[in-house]
Every structure is written in structure tokens, then in C-alpha cells.
Amino acid sequence: MSAVTGSSVTTVRRAVLWVPDWPVVAAMAEAGLSADAPAAVLHGRGMVAVSAAARAAGVRRGQRKRLAQRACPQLAILTHDEGRDSRGFESVAAAAEQVVSGVEISRPGLLMIPADGAARFHGSEEALAEALVGAIADLAGCECSVGAADGLLAAILAARTSSLIPLGKSADFLAGMGIETLSFAAMERVQRDAVEDLASVLVRLGIHTLGEFTALPLSDVVARFGPVGAWAHRIARGEDVAPPVLRRSEEDIAVEYVFEEPAQRVEQLTLVARHVAELLATALLEAGMRCAKVRIVARTERGEELERVWRTDVGSRAGAFAAHMTDRVRWQLEGWLSGTSNGPERAALSSLGVVAEDVVPLGAEQSYLWGGVSGADSRAQRTLERVQGLLGLEGVLAVREQGGRSPRDRVLALPWGQELTPVRPPAHPWPGQIPDPPPATVLPSPERIQLLDAGGTVVSVGRRLAMSAPPTWVRHEEDPGAERTAAMRRHPSSRHNAGPVWGAPLPIDAWAGPWPVAERWWSSEASRRAYLQVALRDGPALLVAFSDGGWWLEAIYD
């Protein structure tokens, strides 16, 4: 690699391995279809990847489902799953690693390989490409094409045509390419959208090839298009944006114990857990490794699995690993056996396994910016574990924000120490989300409340979101144990009515709404609510919801 200013560029010679239409190849492999079947992957409203047979029948990327089925009635339509794409591509990467060591997965479907050393080892770049194509076909069972060139974009384009661009000729190769090829070098969807926008603007400005684009002065491109323009200009000149990051694969270390007779009681399991944890600790020590996560898997007689992932920082507490993991196993199984936490149906356990994940060599773990784990951090961790010991697993919770509309949906709470992965990303747009500021008190379950108009009648919200009258008073439900409730119940006018007893009405100063939220109408947990923000005079504001003909207090802005 050389850094030269001026007209020269900074590049790395690299080979690129490209599997055409990877999402559909992965989906077909999982669905068990043969490679020549017509298939397409559907995401949102259009096809994102199309197999060769389907393409021959006239199915195109971006086509609607109905049009695609008209073009090819026997088309197999598969669902989009990014996780499956990346999982499946691991096998391709592993196959490529049989030929060269150290490959970088740019995105599922595209592998970067530093060409210099590997080509020397195999004799020539042709030999390297041949070996790679052969290995992928044999071991991973899919077709791929390999190309080599200087720089990122040139190498990707070379792979698409299975050509090897000689050293120093990459700039000429790129100059004749169309401007829309820029988007091949974008690795993330957001970036690709931005680059596609840029390309369409350039085409409308009369710039059709990369050569014409790079002839523009960089400063003008930056002034007009900002960072995306600067990135595109560098890529179009054949430069690299970042050096390749090589993949180092470390196998997970797993220890499993199979019970001779299915185990029923926690006491049996605790002993085994300790034994298994000790085995894992020794295995890690022998390999000179440490792990960031531990997955505990318990299998029942019926073949169901109960698993949880725990974060650990075993390195900072050498020797405590076995005791630490024993506690985790005990909590996990106690909760499940007692039926307080959800999981598969209760059954005797046939085996117990502990798997160390995110394995790194000892001493290579990431540390904090200012040195190791601080004293306060490990002290706090120990404290929380002690409290967990007092109250049980679910007694101490860790929380994260997640996406959602109502304040209650926007929180993910899990037992402390367990791996937290929000299912709903908070960064997505959530139309209908209650606007900020968020309320400081969110009731765990909504409470009954009444909104009254000036005459004392309960206000209602119609199907078309019309309020029957402006709300003027709000009243809470009286505590059932309170003296007032008992007095009201005794009073003859109540006629021994068992309904709720309402407290004194409080005046409403101002209100906003109703904001409708209709969620998950397709499922059993469907909810249709209309939210209202209500400010009480000289008091806190409330978030109330109207659903099923009644008002519910959801949160308090106190």
C-alpha cells in the first residue's frame, strides 16, 4: 500500500469473490429447492433477488409479486431474512478460507481477499481464482465468480465479469464504466440509497461514465454533493476508502453433559452445572482464551431447548467462573421449573450444555478507553449479583430503550446480566408515537380513570375520533382499602354496587388529542386506543387512553 498525493491513488491489490443473487441462493438452499428452480426473494413490495431460472422467465429485481407471478407462474416466492443471508454466507467464507487465510465479508454475497500473498502462493492470480471457484463449488455448493484489480470498485466490477485487471490498468478499466456502477461499492442499504440518488442526479446532469465524473474537480463535487460526493469521487478514481479488515475465526468452545437418567430436580442440576462450568473454565484456560458471552442450553426429554445467553467478565474474576455460572444455571432452571418464566413445557432434562461464545485470545480483549474495568464498575456488578442472590434472577433488571408507540412499549427489561437485544429498533420511525417529553412515571398496568365534561358526564371518543365534549374534570379510582370507599359502599344510595368508587374530580387546565393508535390489528394482541395529554391545574400532566369504551391512565408526567 502506498500513500501518494496528486493524481496517483491509494490502493490495495485484491481479489473479490462474488456469489450472484446471494439472498435467493441462501433462501433456496434453506427451502431445499434445486439450483435451477425459478425462485425469488420478496421484501416489502418488490423482489430483492431473483434466481437465474426466474430471470430467464422474465422476473426482474424490483418487480411486484403479482407481475412476477404472471411472468413465471411456477415461481417460488421466498421470504427476506438478512440473518439467514449472513448465516449462510459463513459457509462460503469458511470454504474460501480453505484456499486463502484471512478473508473479509463485505456483505453477504461478497468476499474480499488480499490478492498479493495468496496469488504468490498459488502461482498466479488465475490459479488463485480457479482454486477459489473450485473450493466454493465443492464445499459450499454454489456458483461464484472471482475477479482481481486494484482498489475496491474495480475489484468488485472485475468479479462481476470474472476478469483479472492487470496491475495499474484499473483506472482505465473504471473510466469507461457507467456511473450507476458506483452503488456496487456501497455496502449498507442506507449508503446504497444515497449513492443511487447521487448517480441519478449525475445522469440527469449529463454525466454518464465514471471517467466523466472523476474529471470534475473534487472541491466542486464536495461543494455540490457533500460527503457522499467525496466518497463517490474517491471510489470512482479507484481508491480504497479503508484497508480490508480480515476475518479471524475462533471456534466457540462447548461443553456438554448428558444425563444418564433425565434429571428432574434443581439440586441434581446444580451439581452438574458446577461440574460443567469447571470443565469449560479448564477448556478455556487450556486454549488460552477467554469469552465475552456464555450460552446455557438445557435440552428436555422431548427434544425442546431452553437457552439463554449471559454476558460474563470472567477474566476480571479468575476462579470465580464456576460459581458464577452455577448460579446462572440454577436461576435459569429454577425459574423454568417453577413456571414463573416462560419457556417450553416442563419436562425432565436430558442434557445440559455450556458454550463459550465471542472467544478471544487471553489479553486481546477490548478494554475501556481509560484502562481496564474500573473499581466502581466491578464493585457495582458484584453488588447487583448479591442483590440477585437475595431476590432471585428476576429481582434485578437491566433496561434498554426499544422502539414502540406507547411509553410502556418503549422499554425492554430483562434480568441483570442477560444479553439484551431490543427486538424493535428504536431508530425506526414509529408513526403515532407519543411525542416527547417522555413521562417520568409509566404505570406497569393501566389504571381506570374517568374524564368528565363540564356537566359531569363521562366523555367518549367516537369511531371517527370525535370527542363527545371537551374534558373538564378527571377523577381517579378510589383506593379500595380507603375509608371513603367503605363509606360509599355503606351508603344506601350505592345499592351495594360493587363497581369502582371514584374520587373527587380534579380540574383540567388544558388538553391535547385524541391521537389514535391502532396496533397489530392482524393478531390477537390487537389494540385500538386514542391517547390524550391532560394538564391538571397546578399539578402533573397525565397521559390517558380511551379504549373499549373506558378511560385508562397510562402515564404521569410528574
Binding site: 466502581a376 431476590l391 433496561v399 416527547d436 413521562p439 406497569p444 371537551p470 394538564a535 399539578g539
Partner: protein, 243 residues
């Protein structure tokens, strides 16, 4: 003669000034209850907007009781949490997590103990030992003796207890007397800014001072005012909003 007299008045003036300054200082000290004993314990960082509420800062080993506002409790703990302190909330099952995050509490260093139950004394004791800021919810089953033990332990370990509801022997007692939200109309708008009137009592029997505090301030739409200066301010606000 004339000159010496002027010198004498100058000296007197210095004396008088010094005495006046001392008087003012003691008045302030007695008002906010920050005597000499306050200076020997270190403080946790506190947002500058709250320095009026706790003039001595969030001192380690202190108990601050807050009545009537969860937001104020979160605001007290926020800056310290953002700068590396660990926070635990005991007996607050209805704590708004999103609100905590927006106030600046780092969720990676926040633990919840929503239902401590009968073990609350042991749990709170352990938390005071190991965490920097302990938020205690209302209605914890703690006797006065338990509370005294916790305070002693907090003083020894240097953690801060921020309790909802009254706490006998708190070093600072903050009572929210009124809170006022702006931004709602009759069926339109949304909650935007809020002012709290907080009554502060340093110790039992010490005088009460009141502070008006703006906690949530969102950039609101510019309102056209009749006066010229208001117009100019409106325009500036609009420009800031656009930038």
C-alpha cells in the same frame, strides 16, 4: 488633618465591608444549611441548572428527599450517571425508562429492583454499599431505625440516597409545591415545557426557600408578540430553529 481623616474613613469602610460580607456569608450559610461540615465530603457532579436547588452540590453520604416529582429525582441523578456513576432504583416499578434516558441517565449503568418486598432493608443496604446513587421509591417497608442505619452506611461508603417521599433526617428536603405544563391548548398542541416550584428545606426547622425551576424546555413555535423586542426575539428563535 483632612487627609488623615479620609484615611480613617477608608479603614472604617474596609472594616464595615468585611463585616457586611461576613454577615451575608453566614446568612447564606444558615439559609442553605451548608455549614463547615459540608466541605469535607466530595460531591458528585450535578447539572448547573440544579445548583439553586442544592447549593452545596450532590454531596456523597447525603440523603435528599424529593416529594412530588419523579422527574426531579431523575434530574438530580442524571449528570452523575452520565459521568460514570452507577445508579439503582429500588421499589420504583413505574419508573419511566425513556424519560430517564432523555434526562441523561446512562441505561448501561442503571439497575432496577422493582419489587424488593420484605428484603428491602438488606437490598438497600447492599446497594448503598456498592452503587453511587440509590433512588428509593415511595412506600418502601423501611422502619426509622433501618433508615438511620442506611444513612450511616451511605456516609461511610460515600453514596447518595435520593428518596421519593419524606425521609426523617434527610440532609435536604425538596417538596414540589406546584408544577405547570405549557404547550397544551383546548384539544391541540402537546406538552412542551414545565416549570416546578420547589420548596427547599435544608434541615428540620431551618427556613424554607423556594426556587422556580424549568425542567423540560422544548423549542416551541415562535409566538408573535406585539412589542418590537419580542418580534426580534421571535425571529432569532425561528432562525435557530431552522439552523
Amino acid at each position: 488633618m483632612f487627609e488623615s481623616e479620609s484615611v480613617v474613613t477608608g479603614v472604617e469602610a474596609t472594616h464595615v465591608r468585611l463585616a457586611r460580607a461576613r454577615a451575608a456569608l453566614t446568612a447564606v450559610e444558615s439559609r442553605v444549611g451548608s455549614g463547615r461540615e459540608g466541605w469535607d465530603s466530595p460531591t458528585l457532579p450535578l447539572a448547573t441548572s440544579l445548583s439553586e436547588v442544592l447549593p452545596g452540590g450532590l454531596r456523597r453520604g447525603q440523603v435528599v428527599s424529593v416529594e412530588g416529582s419523579t422527574s426531579l429525582m431523575l434530574a438530580l441523578a442524571a449528570r452523575a450517571s452520565a459521568e460514570g456513576s452507577w445508579t439503582v432504583a429500588i421499589g420504583m416499578p413505574s419508573l419511566g425508562i425513556v424519560a430517564a434516558a432523555r434526562r441523561g441517565i446512562e441505561l448501561h449503568r442503571l439497575a432496577l429492583v422493582p419489587h424488593p418486598g420484605v428484603n428491602v432493608a438488606a437490598v438497600a443496604g447492599a446497594c448503598v454499599d456498592g452503587m453511587d446513587v440509590v433512588l428509593c421509591g415511595p412506600g418502601l417497608a423501611l422502619s426509622d431505625a433501618d433508615r438511620r442505619r442506611l444513612v450511616a452506611r451511605a456516609r461511610e461508603r460515600g453514596s447518595v440516597i435520593v428518596a421519593a417521599g419524606s425521609w426523617a433526617g434527610a440532609h435536604a428536603r425538596l417538596v414540589v409545591e406546584a408544577s405547570r405544563w405549557e404547550g397544551l391548548g383546548a384539544g391541540d398542541g402537546r406538552l412542551r415545557s414545565r416549570t416546578l416550584t420547589v420548596a427547599i428545606r435544608a434541615r428540620e426547622g431551618s427556613p424554607v426557600s423556594r426556587v422556580v425551576l424549568t425542567l423540560d424546555q422544548q423549542r416551541s413555535l415562535p409566538r408573535v408578540r406585539p412589542s418590537g423586542s419580542g418580534q426580534a426575539r421571535t425571529e432569532r428563535a425561528g432562525l435557530e430553529g431552522a439552523a
